[in-house]
């Protein structure tokens, strides 16, 4: 067993950014980098992956892979993995990756690491760094079996162009339909061009200080002004009050995020919230209470009424970016 095999996730007909991040990282180790793309129209996406370092790209293409079905994708990927015999398998810790990665590890009867933020090589062993206790602690860990599988938190590695050989092989996998005990009836994804919180470069988050759902368009306007890599988030107080959907919640029982910039508006900074965003590169807090604990973690603090500061900030950002 040798080399690195990447699972390159497809969503809405495009490769996820995380696929480029892990391919770029894998390339650094000087080993053969293969990738597996599963999806309807997957073949057309292969050249893009070669740009970031994939030497060999295995494609499982067909209309039946339009929707992600855990069992079908696991069977397809495991057949590719058995053909490639990699020493290391890397995936992204996206919503799909969190479902997929432990399932392939279980099928291959090995362990795996979730949500890693760093990866290095010690001889033929990978050493992963990953958060535990919602980021209150970090561990370095190693696997005892091969293949070694790690899913990597999006935004952990930069994307570098570093072309690989890019040979494409279409794989005809045989799926045991009797083992597929689920049928996806419908998938409803909100029409939005915002990135997912876990992948966003900038997050503008609102808390109880937003006073109600009507405050959130203001936050959305700021995120929009900050550019395409930006999205919004919320504290649990805002979610529990029904102002925002749970998908937006950041924190110990929401999403763990580490954007370049996190702007907390009307959020006090409870330990469970800090756990979910404490690794953001730069934190800004806008809160009218100078004693709010969020200020002890923020790189920049504004002590004032968010209803005045946020719209003014949006205008300033527009000026700078235009």
């Amino acid at each position: 067993m040798a080399g690195i095999l990447i699972y390159a996730e497809v969503q809405k007909g495009e490769l996820k950014k995380g696929a480029f991040e892990i391919t770029s990282k894998a390339k650094e180790f000087g080993q053969e980098v293969s990738a597996c793309i599963i999806g309807s129209g997957a073949e057309a996406l292969a050249p893009e992956l070669a740009k970031y370092g994939a030497d060999k790209i295995y494609v499982v293409d067909g209309p039946e892979y339009e929707n992600y079905v855990t069992e079908a994708f696991v069977q397809a990927f495991v057949q590719v993995a058995q053909q490639v015999q990699p020493a290391i398998i890397l995936t992204s810790s996206t919503a799909q990756g969190k479902d997929f990665t432990p399932a392939i590890a279980a099928r291959l009867q090995v362990g795996c690491f979730s949500d890693c933020v760093d990866l290095s090589l010690n001889g033929d062993k990978i050493v992963v760094k990953r958060p535990m206790y919602a980021g209150k602690a970090y561990v370095l860990a190693e696997a005892t079996a091969t293949p070694q599988i790690a899913s990597i938190r999006p935004n952990s590695f930069p994307i570098n162009e570093n072309a690989g050989a890019g040979a494409v092989e279409k794989v005809a996998v045989s799926i045991d339909a009797a083992k597929i005990k689920t049928v996806v009836k419908s998938v409803e994804i909100a029409e939005s061009d915002e990135p997912d919180q876990t992948e966003a470069e900038i997050i503008v988050s609102g808390g109880r200080g937003m006073k109600g759902p009507d405050g959130f368009p203001m936050i959305e306007a700021l995120a929009k002004a900050l550019g395409p890599g930006s999205t919004t988030g919320a504290s649990r107080a805002a979610v529990d009050a029904g102002w925002r959907d749970h998908a937006y919640q950041v924190g110990q029982t929401g999403k763990t995020v580490s954007p370049n910039l996190y702007i907390a508006c009307g959020i006090s900074g409870a330990i469970q919230h800090l756990a979910g965003m404490g690794t953001s590169k730069v934190i800004v807090a806008i809160n009218k209470d100078a004693e709010a604990p969020i200020f002890s973690k923020a790189d920049y603090g504004v002590v004032d009424d968010l209803f005045k500061v946020v719209p003014a900030l949006t205008e300033e950002v527009k000026k700078i970016r235009s």
């Binding site: 969190k98 479902d99 005990k181 504004v302 205008e315």
Partner: protein, 260 residues
């Protein structure tokens, strides 16, 4: 409707984590231990299904040391009928998600179930792996991050809503199945006083990994645990008016942090 709930006792979310002297795990003194918040949704859902069907049992399975009995009793006080406590410190201390799933699978196999409920993630290791591995070992399907569950009257099938990126998917699944609970599935009940009294008399079967015939080593090893560097308070942006502060903040983010 018979269900099994795999439930883990974890440190309360308020806990300030400290590293043990060996540097390989947390210092456990003074920690308040609670039932995992996602596991509470799992217990609640099992109870609601039993109530809907007006029949069946809810069994809790938990791997953990002596202290785990408190979380198990909480589950029984909420209304579960019985529990299996895999009380085996030697196994537990080294267990990773794979070994955990192996021992849970061995215990679950001895029980009656249409659905096995778990939390989507234990908030100590944050791995989110046990549901999928357990399902593989039991040879049944798994749906993770479940937001809604509708079981058919004959218990042969269920319709499940799960969270996906940017939305949700509606999936039909043949039972038995493993489902992992996401926040939003339900509102967990509190244990009532009569519930707490009754829980004391409910049966808890105590087992070791060896009793269950499990001899699986961990597939992953923690080499070192550290705390993230403490964040320092940065600067407070000055200004006469909110507008001036906003302008100064934008300037700092543009010129100093170079983020906009």
């Amino acid at each position: 409707m018979n269900t099994v709930v795999c439930m883990k006792q974890v440190p309360d979310t308020e806990t300030l984590i400290k590293v043990n002297p060996e540097g390989t795990g947390i210092a456990t003194e003074g920690i308040k231990w609670v039932m995992g918040p996602y596991d509470e949704f799992a217990v609640e859902e099992a109870l609601q299904q039993k109530e809907k069907f007006k029949a069946g049992t809810v069994s809790i399975v938990s791997l953990g040391p002596d202290r785990a009995i408190e979380a198990i009793r909480t589950g029984l006080a909420m209304g579960a009928d019985s529990a299996v406590h895999i009380n085996d410190s030697a196994f537990y201390d080294k267990a990773d998600p794979y070994a955990t799933a192996a021992v849970l699978a061995a215990a679950v196999k001895n029980l009656e179930y249409d659905i096995v409920f778990l939390g989507k993630q234990a908030i100590d290791d944050d791995s989110g792996q046990v549901p999928a591995i357990l399902a593989e070992m039991l040879g049944i399907p798994v749906i993770t991050q479940v937001l809604k569950l509708e079981v058919e009257a004959d218990k042969s099938k269920a319709t499940v809503t799960r969270e996906v990126e940017g939305g949700h998917a509606i999936i039909d699944v043949t039972l038995p199945a493993v489902l992992s609970a996401q926040k939003g599935l339900n509102e967990p009940r509190y244990a009532s006083l009569p519930g707490i009294m009754k829980a004391k008399k409910k049966p808890v079967d105590v087992k070791t990994a060896a009793d269950l015939g499990v001899d699986v080593g961990a597939m992953t090893v923690i080499k070192e645990m550290t705390l993230p560097p403490a964040r320092q308070a940065g600067k407070i942006i000055e200004g006469e008016t909110p507008e001036e502060k906003a302008a100064n903040l934008a300037k700092a983010l543009h010129e100093e942090a170079k983020l906009i």
